[in-house]
C-alpha cells in the first residue's frame, strides 16, 4: 500500500529535487518525491557541462556518467576569430540521463521514496499553510500530506504559484533554447566552444560541448524576446547549415533557462522552492545543475532540521543561507550579463583581437572579462569581485 502521509514531499526528480530528498532523508525524516515523467533523467534538456569542483561536494566523479574532460574554452567572435583559454579548474561533460539517475539512487539509498508518472496538479492548503499535494497517478486523483513541500519542478514550475509566490520568469530573462546532439568530425574532445554575435545567438550564446569522439551537443539560447521575430530553432538551423551541413543529428530538444537573479521569496508557510523553480541558475552562463543542487542541499537540510525539531519557522532561514552561499554571486553575474549581452559584434571582435595579443600564459577567464570591460568600466568592480577574490 502506498502511504499518503510523509514528513516531506518533493515535486520533481531533477538534480535539485533528488539532492533535497537525499539531504533530508539522511536525517531520518520520511520523504516522497513525485515526478511526472516516466523516468528520472529523461528527456535530457541540457548542454551537460559542469565545473568539476562544483560537483565534488555531492558525488565522486565517475566515468560512467562523464563523457568528456574539458580543460580549454574557446570563444569565437562574430568575425570567426577564436580565442582559447586554459581552464585550470577543469569542467566535465555529463551523460545526464545516467547522472540524474545516480543522484536519484543516492536519495533512495538515504531512504527517500521516488515515484514516477505522478503529475502534481494542486496543493493542499490549511489557512494559507501548505499541508500537502494533489496529484494524478495512472488516471487516479490522489492526495498526500506533509509537514513541508519542496517545489523542484524546474523551469515549468507552477507549484510555487499555487502557494501565492510570484515565480514566473520575465520574458526578457528567459533564454529560449534548442539543442541537437550531432556528429561533429574534427571537434576537439577537450574544449568547450562558445560562439557570440547578433546573427548567431542575440542576447545569448551558442555552445558546442563534446560528448565523445566526433559527437557533440550543439545548442543555443536567445532571449525569449527575440522570438517576436525569429525563434531559437531558426538560429540553430542557420548555424548548422553554415557550419555542419552534413552532420547527422541523433536528437533535438528544446528548453528554457531562467537567467536572472534568484527569487526574493523562495519560501511560504509549509513550502520551499529549489533549482530552476527558484531561479537558482547562474544568470551569466545559464548553468543550473550544480547551483540547483546547492539549493537542494540547503533546502533539504533545513527542511529535515525543521521537521525533526518541530520548528516550522526554521524554513525561512533558507533564503539567507542561499543568499550568502550563491545568491549574492548571482546578483553580480546578472549585472555582468546585462553588460555582456549588449555588446555589439564589433565589441566582441575587438575583444577577441585584444585578448589574442596577450601572452598565452596570461589568457585566463578573469583576464578575458577584464579586457571585455574596458568597454564598460562601471562593471569592473563587479568583475573584480568575482574573479579576483
Amino acid at each position: 500500500m502506498q502511504k499518503n502521509d510523509y514528513d516531506l514531499i518533493i515535486v520533481g526528480a531533477g538534480p535539485a529535487g533528488t539532492t533535497a530528498a537525499r539531504f533530508a532523508a539522511e536525517q531520518g525524516v520520511s520523504v516522497l518525491v513525485l515526478e511526472k515523467d516516466r523516468d528520472v533523467g529523461y528527456p535530457v534538456r541540457c548542454g551537460e557541462a559542469i565545473r568539476r569542483r562544483g560537483i565534488e561536494e555531492f558525488i565522486e566523479p565517475d566515468d560512467k556518467w562523464i563523457c568528456a574532460y574539458i580543460d580549454k574554452f574557446s570563444m569565437i567572435a562574430p568575425n570567426g576569430v577564436k580565442s582559447t583559454i586554459e581552464y585550470i579548474e577543469k569542467a566535465l561533460i555529463l551523460e545526464r540521463r545516467i547522472f540524474d539517475y545516480e543522484l536519484a539512487k543516492l536519495a533512495s539509498k538515504a531512504g527517500a521514496e521516488i515515484i514516477t508518472r505522478c503529475y502534481v496538479n494542486g496543493l493542499l492548503l490549511d489557512n494559507g499553510k501548505v499541508t500537502g499535494v494533489k496529484y494524478v497517478q495512472a488516471g487516479e486523483e490522489k492526495t498526500a500530506t506533509a509537514k513541508i513541500v519542496i517545489a523542484a519542478d524546474g523551469v515549468e514550475s507552477r507549484v510555487g504559484r499555487w502557494a501565492g509566490l510570484e515565480t514566473h520568469t520575465h520574458i526578457k530573462n528567459m533564454e529560449s533554447c534548442v539543442q541537437v546532439t550531432a556528429s561533429t568530425p574534427g571537434i576537439e574532445l577537450d574544449t568547450c566552444r562558445f560562439y557570440f554575435g547578433k546573427d548567431i545567438a542575440p542576447e545569448g550564446y551558442l555552445w558546442i560541448f563534446p560528448k565523445g569522439k566526433d559527437i557533440s551537443n550543439i545548442g543555443l539560447g536567445v532571449s525569449a524576446t527575440m522570438g517576436k521575430t525569429t525563434s531559437a530553432l531558426t538560429y540553430l538551423n542557420r548555424f548548422m547549415e553554415n557550419n555542419f551541413p552534413n552532420s547527422s543529428i541523433t536528437s533535438i530538444v528544446s528548453g528554457g533557462v531562467p537567467c536572472v537573479t534568484t527569487l526574493k521569496k523562495m519560501t511560504a508557510p509549509g513550502i520551499m522552492l529549489v533549482g530552476d523553480a527558484a531561479h537558482q541558475v547562474n544568470p551569466l552562463s545559464g548553468g543550473g545543475i550544480t547551483s540547483g543542487m546547492v539549493g537542494g542541499k540547503l533546502a533539504g537540510t533545513i527542511a529535515g532540521k525543521s521537521i525533526k525539531q518541530n520548528k516550522p519557522d526554521l524554513i525561512y532561514s533558507y533564503e539567507s543561507e542561499w543568499h550568502e552561499r550563491m545568491g549574492k554571486r548571482h546578483e553580480t553575474y546578472d549585472r555582468i550579463k546585462d553588460g555582456f549581452y549588449k555588446f555589439s559584434d564589433e565589441t566582441f571582435n575587438n575583444l577577441a583581437e585584444m585578448y589574442n595579443k596577450l601572452p598565452y600564459e596570461k589568457r585566463t577567464i578573469g583576464r578575458l572579462f577584464t579586457t571585455a570591460l574596458i568597454n564598460k568600466p562601471s562593471l569592473l568592480l563587479d568583475v573584480a569581485k568575482v574573479f579576483i577574490m
Partner: protein
C-alpha cells in the same frame, strides 16, 4: 462559430500539440499560470489566458501560434 473563450474574449493562442516538445519554456514565462503541461500533453487553460502572446515569443521551436481569427472548439485538440 464555436470559439474557445479566453479571459479577454476569443482565445487567440494556439499550441500545436503534435509538434510540441513539452519543454515548459512557455509555462515558465506565462504570467497567468494559464498553461497545463504533462509528460506529453499540453493545453491552454482558457479562462486564465489573456492572449498576451509571451508564450508565442518564448517557444524555442515555433509551435505556439497567435491565431487572430480565434481558436475553434474542437474535441480533437483537447489532449488533457
Amino acid at each position: 462559430m464555436n470559439y474557445r473563450m479566453s479571459k479577454k474574449g476569443k482565445l487567440l493562442i494556439e499550441i500545436l500539440p503534435d509538434k510540441c516538445d513539452f519543454c515548459g519554456c512557455c509555462v515558465g514565462v506565462c504570467p497567468e499560470d494559464a498553461i497545463e503541461l504533462k509528460e506529453v500533453a499540453i493545453e491552454i487553460i482558457d479562462d486564465r489566458c489573456t492572449n498576451c502572446s509571451k508564450c508565442v515569443w518564448a517557444c524555442p521551436i515555433d509551435v505556439i501560434k497567435f491565431n487572430k481569427e480565434g481558436v475553434l472548439k474542437s474535441p480533437a485538440t483537447s489532449y488533457i
